[in-house]
């Protein structure tokens, strides 16, 4: 069935498909078509009677009031809800800071009391010659185990994390394992090498080390005696600066850290200092040891002071399991 071709239709603007028509409608006609239709209806039928107009006006006003309430509520909710997490966070941070300040204060008070006890003890022991000798011995022992403050020349070793790994394209921090990050093991090795080089007292970020100190990793933080220290770690060492510098710089650990420094750009430096003052460490918590009941012997004759040779002068190196490069 063939029919003769119809004459070519006159040119028409291209017909949009349904999707395109919808998009064109969306982009071009923003006003509700109801307004135009209502205007036409009004033109046809004439204006509304004043009474009905007033009713409609008041409904419009009511609707606008409702819109106002919605906007205000949304505003209030946005203000109240968005920073909820931030508020909780800030509260926790201030809590932690308060508690830290409290601990510091208690620590200071404990130090004062300890000093007072030491003074009283010395005053009591100074009456006899043997007592004075005991007091001197005691002070030396306290300094070497870290429960007495010390001051003297020494060296300062600074070690810290290198730059965090960044994505080479975006420059954002990546979650990849960071080889330039110091672990508890690194600090332990440094401290052990320093003890080996003749250190007499060591503090990390002001935290004095004792024979029972621990250096441990907890999450991302390194804890020294359960108190966090942060990079760069400043290790202050009291001892003979010359021999320590020589001995430590020649040690295998220092070699390794210098290699880390050139390879991973970690922070590592050794400097000597003419005077370093280190605070006393927290006195160890005695779990099993008990002070003996006061002996009937007069003080000074055969005091219950520990036998000298039973205490090694150099505290044992702190160590802990876990952590690894």
């Amino acid at each position: 069935m063939t029919t003769p071709d119809p004459p070519p239709p006159p040119w028409r603007p291209p017909v949009f498909g349904p999707g395109q028509a919808m998009l064109a409608e969306l982009m071009n006609n923003h006003l509700d078509p109801g307004y135009v239709a209502a205007k036409e209806a009004r033109d046809r039928r004439g204006p509304l009677p004043p009474g009905r107009l007033r009713v409609r006006r008041s409904i419009t006003a009511l609707t606008l009031a409702v819109i106002g309430v919605v906007l205000a509520t949304a505003f209030l909710q946005a203000v109240a809800h968005a920073p909820d997490a931030a508020k909780a966070n800030a509260g926790l941070v201030s809590d932690v800071k308060n508690r830290s300040a409290q601990t510091d204060q208690l620590q200071r008070r404990a130090e004062q009391l300890r000093e007072q006890v030491a003074r009283e003890r010395e005053a009591a022991l100074a009456s006899t010659e043997a007592g004075a000798q005991t007091a001197t011995d005691l002070r030396d022992l306290e300094a070497s185990v870290g429960v007495g403050p010390v001051a003297g020349p020494g060296i300062v070793v600074t070690a810290g994390d290198g730059p965090e790994p960044r994505d080479p394209v975006t420059g954002e921090l990546t979650n990849a394992a960071d080889p330039a990050r110091l672990l508890d093991r690194d600090l332990q090795e440094l401290v052990n090498a320093l003890w080996e080089s003749g250190a007499e007292a060591i503090a990390i970020d002001g935290q004095r080390l004792t024979p029972t100190s621990t250096i441990r990793l907890a999450g991302d933080a390194i804890l020294v005696d359960l108190r966090p220290v942060s990079t760069p770690y400043k290790i202050q060492v009291v001892g003979d600066p010359l021999t320590m510098d020589d001995h430590f710089n020649g040690s295998e650990v220092a070699d390794r850290f210098r290699a880390y420094k050139s390879r991973y750009a970690i922070v590592f430096s050794v400097a000597s200092a003419s005077r370093i003052a280190l605070a006393a460490a927290t006195a160890p918590v005695l779990r099993y040891a008990r002070a003996p009941s006061p002996s009937p012997a007069p003080p000074g004759s055969r005091s219950p002071a520990p036998h000298r040779s039973s205490i090694t002068h150099r505290p044992a190196a702190p160590s802990s399991p876990g952590g690894g490069r």
Partner: protein, 110 residues
């Protein structure tokens, strides 16, 4: 004039009374806000065009909010709530933009 006063009174009332929204309705509040803004800007434009009509305004506002809420509700049930919310916000956002542009042309003649 009355309309502006009513809107401001509504905002003041909302700020002062701090109405609590039931938790179930809270996800729809942002959509309701966008729909309300669309209705308001449409009404202002119609007013400037000289074709404002109270009935159309009220009905368009109520239906906008209801339909937007319904779409989002259905989307939530179907697991595409986020996408449908985006769709509603895009459509209403385009309309708000266009109406504000028209209002601007009326006010600044530019």
């Amino acid at each position: 004039m009355i309309a502006a006063i009513a809107l401001i009174a509504g905002i003041a009332a909302g700020l002062l009374l701090e109405p609590t929204i039931p938790t179930g309705l809270q996800p729809y509040l942002p959509i309701a806000v966008v729909a309300a803004l669309d209705a308001v800007f449409g009404a202002v434009r119609a007013r400037l065009d000289g074709i404002f009509d109270d009935k159309v305004f009220v009905v368009s506002f109520v239906s906008n909010v209801l339909v937007a809420g319904l779409i989002v509700y259905l989307g939530d049930k179907l697991g595409v709530g986020g996408q449908l919310s985006t769709g509603v916000v895009v459509v209403l956002g385009v309309r708000i933009f266009g109406n504000v542009a028209a209002i601007r042309r009326h006010v600044f003649r530019a």
